[in-house]
Symmetry: C2
């Protein structure tokens, strides 16, 4: 079977949509120089600075072997595997698990699962932590704590809760149940890991949270629930090999970056909807939403010029959201690009039996499969968007497996890096979350002097008015 | 405890954000006449046309009693409860179940669950149907088929699959395991229900899919998983009572509609992010996304004037998405309204133990609760949005329970109805999904002559070009 994913952008183009609503060849041509420069810049900085993630398909042989060894032990030993992490430390693990494991994985008997029951705790909702403790048994649980700095408040508060509970219930030996994924020398977690003797994996320098799925952040959880991480990395490498050209018509990630740049910056499409037609890829849309939003949502260019960049990624699911969002996509403002993900070969076939012969509008379904129906509906939706002159494109996955998933994620990472170049912003920082953090610490009364300013500053906000609270 | 939900719009206003980025009193005043007219129009048409849902809190005494009776039987008899439905027949049941039941409900032992294991099958992914059959036992499963017309292809294909499997495995008596929720006289499903003797509940006239949560569409699944549906309806009635004024400053749903109208139509905020800070409300955001998108995404006004209306609803989750979307919200374009949902009292308390005393940036968390932390982070985020002059508002829920949930859903329904009036569009139809349906049927080769035109029309699309597929 063909194993390369493909990008089909026919429905982005003026050839299909007309020049008012589609992108013309002239617009593409005008971008070729900038596109080539973006490709050169990214390629030239491969492995350097925050582009460390580009080397992950190639430089982890030893680490992968150790992960596989530890994962084999986890799978043989534990009934529950809990990731404590948030943002980039959670979205990748969730997306890959959902894509490659059974859709009701935790409800299967142990004999039908490739690993322990799997949980990712990426929020601090107090009801959620209580709910988790209702369904796991502490002595049979492996906890994987993922935070580069060891200062992430959400994750470290969970660490405090979990380690106290483990010490109380398991006693000596509690530390054997913990895997730490963190920086190799900086921060709190590496110190705690050394002090307590946790099994530890490192987040390499130059790999930020949202680009970390192909390092131990993603690989450890994936391997612990039975996923072929070598195939994922091979998929990433295969996509990387397709991103060597500076000709956008020969480099899918570069073409994607250019099209989204034109769509958002020149044609007012400030929303991009990621619309997989497969339940298995539902959380891949969440992973993409972080990658795209946090990388590109910036208020300053690299030359210091103020800007307000960033297309808003939205997530949806086909066919389900045809019954929820499609009305808006078809008739609402011309403010969106719809990105389908199409799966060519599903891993199951569901036949629709004949029946209801008296009802013509039901009977015609008999003898078909859900496989046929879901793709026909995707094509019907694509056609409707075309009729309504709405930009859309399709990422085609021959099948959902570790190899194609590796390609897909690396493709989106490369497109994000190129898009940062085109926008001339820093795609790898996230200064915009600092105000919120400082304010939170100030509200919590953290006595550290560095929050004095935040506390002071917050008193400057106008008072809330009762008339505006109904 | 105070049981009324509240809407706090302080951070929408120029008083807080300044007049460039906030809404002024003058802008509000200029809308008062239109707002009053919208309120009058909706109130005058209560119960008529597609405003049948407005009467649901009042006219279902007998139906509710029957639902409770059937639900008691289902809870006593079955181990699995499967909803077959899509769009409005699925999003409400999912949202209410997630909000009011345990976050790992299906993983609890039967003795700790108020009802059978609960599944909502709202997609036709072939892997998903296979996955469902892996985890249920057909003889112990009650299927609830929800479709008004009985012609929804997704749901009826599932009906064919499920009924064939039931007949094969259970034989005579299979029909006792099915509950139909459908139109009282029109369509296929009511005929099948009569023919086979299914337990049947009716979707009242004048209640469209996305406004159907308070009728049997939502009430039957809710009651079958142990939810207090009378409290939900009482909550809806309580909100309705607060929507009697035509003064927007005294009617929260009317104020909400006016603010979103100004934000989207006059100030370019074409995206609204629904951002609950509670895992239990995560799927309430999905439910809202259908309500808002499908109701308001329209290309023609009621007077026939072309338009392209509709704010794009996006869904997020706090605090989780602070680590994914907040960077964009704070620094990206001024194109969004952020709608927080804040929960005042969670149903659990999670204490953070002391520890890590050597690390000041972790130790300060010790002795707090996740309850304190999640709200401090919400306030920190609200403050950061304020600093960056981003419109935001907060729906405050004293607690998440059936009564407050009834209020919340009715509030959002009323705001949607008012918004339709302000936009002068039909908020209750969905013509924009027809092209997609017709194309799908044409692609599938449905031989009905009514698809001839669609088949013919589709041949007019330009050919796909190979150069645009990478």
């Amino acid at each position: 079977m063909e194993q390369n994913i493909r990008l089909d952008v026919n429905h982005m183009m003026a050839d299909m949509l007309g020049s008012e609503h589609g992108i013309t060849k002239e617009q593409l041509a005008a971008m070729q120089e900038a596109a080539a420069a973006a490709q050169h810049a990214v390629e030239a900085n491969r492995g350097k600075g925050w582009l460390g993630w580009m080397e992950l398909p190639y430089n982890q042989e030893e680490i992968v072997s150790k992960i596989e060894e530890v994962a084999a032990h986890v799978r043989a030993t534990y009934e529950y595997f809990v990731v404590l992490g948030i943002g980039g430390s959670a979205l990748g693990p969730i997306a890959v698990h959902q894509a490659l494991n059974h859709l009701h994985y935790n409800e299967l008997p142990a004999s039908k699962r490739p690993g322990p029951k799997f949980y990712v705790e990426d929020n601090i909702d107090p009801e959620r932590m209580a709910a988790l403790f209702d369904v796991i048994e502490l002595p049979k649980t492996c906890f994987c704590i993922i935070t580069k700095s060891g200062a992430t408040a959400e994750t470290m508060s969970q660490y405090l809760i979990v380690t106290e509970a483990l010490k109380a219930e398991v006693g000596e030996g509690w530390a054997k149940q913990i895997i730490a994924v963190t920086d190799h020398e900086k921060g709190n977690l590496i110190k705690l890991a050394k002090e307590n003797g946790f099994e530890t994996f490192f987040i390499p320098d130059g790999v930020g949270g949202r680009f970390s799925e192909m390092c131990p952040v993603g690989l450890v959880p994936a391997a612990c629930c039975g996923i072929d991480i070598r195939a994922m990395l091979a998929g990433a490498a295969a996509m990387d090999a397709r991103c060597k050209s500076d000709d956008m018509m020969k480099n899918p990630a570069l073409l994607e970056a250019v099209l989204q740049y034109i769509a958002s910056e020149q044609m007012g499409r400030n929303v991009q909807v990621m619309l997989p037609y497969a339940d298995s890829l539902k959380y891949m849309a969440d992973w993409f939403c972080q990658l795209w939003a946090e990388s590109l949502g910036k208020n300053v260019k690299r030359d210091g010029t103020p800007c307000h960049a960033g297309q808003t990624p939205a997530k949806a699911l086909g066919v389900t959201d045809q019954h929820s969002q499609l009305q808006l996509y078809n008739e609402g403002p011309f403010d969106k690009v719809i990105t389908f993900i199409k799966v060519e070969n599903f891993r199951s076939e569901t036949k629709i039996p004949k029946g209801c012969e008296e009802f013509k509008d039901v009977a015609f379904l008999g003898g078909m499969t859900h496989n046929t129906l879901i793709e026909a509906e995707r094509q019907g939706t694509e056609y409707a968007l075309y009729v309504n002159k709405r930009m859309n494109q399709t990422i085609v996955m021959p099948e959902v497996n570790a190899y194609t998933l590796g390609q897909l994620m690396f493709f989106l990472e490369m497109a994000t890096a190129y898009e940062g170049e085109l926008l001339n912003i820093d795609a790898f920082n996230q200064p915009g979350v600092e105000t919120s953090k400082r304010a939170t610490y100030a509200i919590l009364g953290n006595t550290d002097a560095k929050y004095d300013a935040a506390r002071q500053e917050m008193t400057g906000r106008p008072a809330f008015k009762a008339e505006y609270i109904l």
